[in-house]
């Protein structure tokens, strides 16, 4: 465990000045900032909206752009960046000849990639809430304070996180095996498009394909919004079903790839 913690801290120390780390911070910040600016400029049109509508309108474009477009790319990039660090510096041989169990070194790297994605999604929640509330203070005519979206937003992003673990682990393994960016990127890109098409067309077995999971998580949220629209007078109560079968598949893939990856690392001669 000590070896794992040391390796994990070292991962942070190594990446804290790289694009891999900062993209996980800047992406949520910039996306939320852009929507904030848009809302600020159009605030007069939005005054008639209720607090709940405002929050949904505020969070939806961020979620949409993120969930459908940027998240798969971000996952591919995060998985690539934690591994390319060692490929570029030719340091695999060094980290695997440290007096630390190979499993700790490997697991620390794997969970650090998970941590980066978690950080990014947590920041999405924080920045969405932060910018929303800030907008409410700057423009008191916008009724952001009437409604709290914190709980549901956290649940949605957490569901996103769970839905992404399958892809992240596959991309992690690809980036571990291939030192160049093109192979994992190309494979990831094709699979993401395929996954999008499968989930978009509602193919019955799409839940078995990890690259479909983020889109399926998005759809789950879409349905609950519609549910809200049906009863506009009442304050709708959104729920996110956290552990759907696609989420289980995502988790199972993550565990399986983690184990497989470890044996590949053990077998693979360190170049």
């Amino acid at each position: 465990m000590k070896g794992f913690i040391l390796s994990f801290r070292s991962e942070f120390y190594k990446t804290r000045k790289t694009m891999g780390f900062w993209s996980a911070v800047l992406l949520p910040f910039l996306l939320c900032l852009f929507v904030f600016i848009g809302f600020f400029a159009k605030s007069d049109d939005l005054m008639k909206n209720s607090g709940m509508e405002l929050w949904l309108k505020f969070a939806a474009p961020i979620l949409g752009v993120m969930g459908l477009l940027l998240m798969p790319m971000l996952i591919i990039f995060i998985a690539y960046s934690v591994n390319s660090l060692e490929h570029k510096a030719d340091t695999w041989k060094t980290i695997f000849s440290l007096p630390i169990p190979k499993l700790s070194v490997y697991a620390a790297k794997y969970f650090y990639a998970f941590f980066l994605l978690f950080l990014c999604l947590a920041l999405f929640v924080l920045f969405t809430l932060g910018f929303g509330n800030f907008l409410g203070i700057l423009k008191p005519s916008l009724k952001f304070s009437e409604y709290s979206i914190a709980s549901i937003l956290t649940q949605i992003y957490f569901k996103f996180f769970l839905a992404s673990l399958g892809i992240l682990s596959i991309q992690f393994l690809l980036s571990l095996l291939f030192s160049d960016f093109l192979k994992p990127m190309g494979i990831g890109f094709i699979c993401t498009i395929t996954g999008g098409i499968l989930a978009g067309n509602g193919w019955a077995y799409a839940y078995l394909f990890p690259y479909s999971h983020p889109m399926m998580a998005m759809k789950a949220f879409g349905q609950s919004t519609k549910g809200g629209d049906n009863h506009p007078s009442a304050m709708p109560h959104f729920t996110v079903e956290m552990l759907t079968k696609d989420t289980w598949v995502s988790l199972a893939v993550a565990v399986a790839v983690f184990v497989a990856g470890y044996f590949i690392v053990l077998k693979k001669s360190v170049k």
Partner: protein, 299 residues
């Protein structure tokens, strides 16, 4: 013995890269592991560090079996394999601090290491901007960081200028003589190893061709008598007729194996008395480099 291997064999696909290697590295020695490029040196080093899994034979380091005592053994080894592994986006000091974090070593030791390899002034410069020699020195600082009992260095003087090479050599000699460390150093240059090694192992095509102390290696190296005459080919034939072995002849000189000073005098007299003019006659140690070539080409 700090390192001892028994019949270590390693195969990549159908190619045997290391063939029943039995290394014996005594404590406190500087063991020069020599061989031409592609002889299996780096593979052997990777086996010693458990980066490659032992297929056949066994490895004992500090008298303990490597596979089952991996962590304990690795905690006492510092290594530098091929080109130094350095994160180029981090400064030299950050590279050391990162390793110090993993090894549980304090910042004071990091500063000492920077000082030792003369990188204190460049400590905060990005390692990507370092010259090859600076990178190599940083690599050595990284290897020494945990104050290991055994240093395994794979071609550590690659890319260093003559001053840098001398510095590293002096540092390694000091580490073994003052701090009682053991150094296992690989190289394809005998001349470089000869100046510091106490023991030598010569490997070619994965096989150990020679192993022993540097004195034993030098003993293999028989001296010869170099004779410069006016007619070297005729002189050689003349010596042969008089039952004197001739090792080599060229346009200027005749080489005869050295047996004693007296024989040298007799040869000189014999040539002079028979009308050959001897310009010079002297005892010569054969170049170790030639010996190295002879040993490695013998295979």
């Amino acid at each position: 013995m700090v390192i001892s291997t028994q019949n270590l064999t390693f195969t990549f696909g159908s190619q045997t890269v290391v063939k029943s290697l039995s290394l014996r590295v005594p404590e406190g020695s500087i063991y020069g592991f020599l061989g031409p490029n592609g002889a299996g040196k780096t593979t052997t080093i990777k086996l010693l560090l458990n980066l490659l899994k032992t297929q056949e034979g066994s490895i004992h380091i500090f008298e303990k079996e490597l596979q089952s005592n991996r962590i304990e053994i690795l905690s006492q080894i510092g290594s530098l394999i091929e080109q130094p592994a350095i994160y180029l986006h981090m400064s030299g000091k950050e590279n050391l601090l990162n390793r110090a974090l993993l090894l549980g070593v304090g910042e004071k030791r990091v500063d000492e290491m920077l000082d030792l390899v003369h990188l204190t002034t460049a400590a905060h410069k990005k390692a990507g901007q370092y010259s090859l020699g600076m990178k190599q020195r940083l690599g050595i600082a990284l290897a020494l960081l945990s104050d290991p009992k055994l240093l395994i260095l794979d071609e550590p003087t690659n890319g260093l200028d003559p001053n840098g090479i001398i510095e590293i050599r002096e540092l390694l000699v000091k580490l073994t003589s003052v701090y009682k460390k053991t150094v296992f150093i690989s190289s394809h240059l005998l001349a470089e190893i000869q100046k510091m090694a106490t023991h030598v192992g010569i490997i070619n095509f994965g096989e150990l061709m020679f192993q022993g102390s540097i004195q034993e290696l030098e003993a293999l190296n028989k001296p010869s008598v170099q004779i410069e005459t006016d007619r070297s080919v005729d002189a050689a034939n003349f010596l042969k007729k008089n039952n004197i072995d001739v090792a080599e002849v060229n346009d200027h000189c005749v080489f005869v194996p050295f047996t004693s000073k007296e024989t040298m005098g007799e040869i000189n007299a014999l040539l002079n008395q028979n009308g050959y003019t001897v310009y010079s006659i002297n005892k010569q140690q054969q170049d170790l480099e030639k010996l190295f070539l002879a040993i490695t080409q013998h295979a």
